[in-house]
């Protein structure tokens, strides 16, 4: 187990676009030489990782992979099972595609289909946690099955589109059809949200009446997610808050829920 820091150094043309091999659970088991020898697809050729990244490895009780100054890589953390992946910058499309465990923290923006299905898969992420400090593009949480995604910034079209289950947390206002055709799962808005008309309003529920949601928020706090680090919540009064509830999507099996935090 180790903390691996990959700092992008190359202006290789064409540039690296697929980041699916940059996973803490696979690279964490290797030494520096082995990591630098990993072959990455660049355009029609493959090049050793060492040509594109400066690699720094330190022993640690956990697997942590930090990627710095890289271009927007697609499929980062795809099928990741454990460990922590930290992207100091922006991520491309299909971040955490079909991941099953571990934590991904993007300090910049994400692309399309965060936590969605990987190539050939019919299900999105099946576990793990994705934290995004910035904005994302369309269909965040597409077909996600388990785990949670927290997005501090804005979202594109229909976050939670066709969600199967899991938890999607939105830190900024959202009116772009959140949860459209979702089956199960929870979309939590810490700002304002306008679900599609196929969602039925369920009124206001005291936070203390839904302890499972408080546990989700407590997890975010433990992860020191930026929105919460900004003292968004007075933690001692968290159970004095309430949730505005919508149930849906009536277009499917109607077992999903959209919750908006109220102060």
């Amino acid at each position: 187990m180790s903390i691996i820091t990959l700092t992008y150094k190359s202006n290789h043309s064409p540039s690296l676009s697929d980041g699916s091999l940059l996973r803490p659970d696979t690279l964490g088991a290797m030494d520096t030489l082995a990591i630098e020898a990993v072959m990455l697809s660049v355009g029609r050729t493959t090049v050793p990782l060492g040509e594109l990244f400066e690699t720094e490895c330190t022993a640690s009780p956990q697997n942590i992979l930090i990627i710095r100054h890289a271009p927007q890589l697609h499929r980062l953390g795809a099928q990741m099972a454990q460990g922590t992946l930290i992207i100091e910058g922006d991520a491309g499309d299909d971040l955490g595609a079909s991941m099953t465990g571990g934590i991904i923290h993007v300090k910049g923006n994400g692309g399309h289909r965060v936590g969605g299905p990987d190539v050939t898969s019919r299900r999105g992420m099946n576990g793990g946690e994705i934290l995004i400090d910035g904005n994302v593009l369309d269909f965040a949480g597409f077909l996600m099955r388990r785990g949670f995604i927290a997005i501090a910034g804005t979202t594109g079209k229909s976050p939670g589109y066709r969600m199967l289950a899991g938890t999607l947390i939105l830190g900024s206002p959202c009116v772009n059809q959140p949860g459209l055709e979702m089956q199960r799962g929870t979309i939590i808005s810490l700002s304002s949200i306008k679900p599609p008309v196929s969602f039925a309003p369920g009124g206001t529920i005291a936070a203390s009446a839904m302890p499972a949601m408080t546990i989700v928020l407590k997890r975010l706090r433990a992860l020191q997610w930026p929105r919460l680090a900004d003292a968004m919540f007075d933690w001692k009064k968290i159970n004095d808050g309430s949730w505005q509830l919508w149930s849906g999507d009536a277009l499917t099996i109607n077992k999903g829920e959209v919750l908006q935090w109220q102060y």
Partner: protein
Amino acid sequence: MWAARLIVTAIDEHWVRIAATETCGYGTSVIGCDAEAGVERFLSAEETPDGRPGVSLLFFGFKAENLRKAVPNRVGQCLMTCPTTAVYDGMPDVVATDETPRIDLGKRLRFFGDGHQKSKQVTISTVPLDATVDVPATLAPTHSLRRLWRIPVMDGEFTCEESIGTLKAIGGGNLLICGIDQRTTLDLTRAAVDAIASCGDVITPFPGGIVRSGSKVGSRYKSMFASTNDEYCPTLRGKVKTKLRDGFHCVYEIVINGLSESAISHAMKIGMVAAHRRAEELKTKIVFSAGNYGGKLGKFHFKLREVMA
């Protein structure tokens, strides 16, 4: 014996106490109850999974199979019905084995939701984060992924962990406190029980932590597994061989169930120290004893001299 621990939370301390009282009711001795149950300790909002006040309850049964029936029944009847409560596994890190299986809890109770129940797999953070590494706290090492069932009820949701862990544990650790009269002995024993309440991993399952009808193993009647501890009954002095010393006319017993031998031993020591201190305050005499009933009570022996060493 086998043990299970529940963490029960509620909207405030009032409902936590009611939940604890109801759930642990009729849970004194497995001689006649489905389980021995008691409050391990009350928890502050910072210590519980959902940030509400709570209580840690311990349940003991002869076998894991007994707990498999008793705990879901008690949770279903006493906690799901109690306003605002939620129930979590208090031993989530115990590895399930054939000998120490997990007990289905929410997995059984969820059907009360009549199809409207939902599950949520969540990571429950239990301790503060270690900030020794210069990377975000996404490293949080101390968390466990748990499945909770959310059962819709009329005041919101009853949240209940899918299953709970069990552990091989020890029941029947006992301490006999002999005093000069009933009032004084009760006072001394209460002091001991109050002190034991501060110990972790143990409960004193009897009323107020105290037993007046201490028992011996066996009886002259075939249908009875246990009968009165005649050697310590003051009214039988002169009629049976007594263990009461001259001038001592009352005995109370504290039964201690614990998750480990050391936890029981520590609790006994704390109890004896507190009772002795109280006896000094009252300027009265006190005698401690304990019983293993010729080994019939179990393989563990808590010799008081060794406990106090």
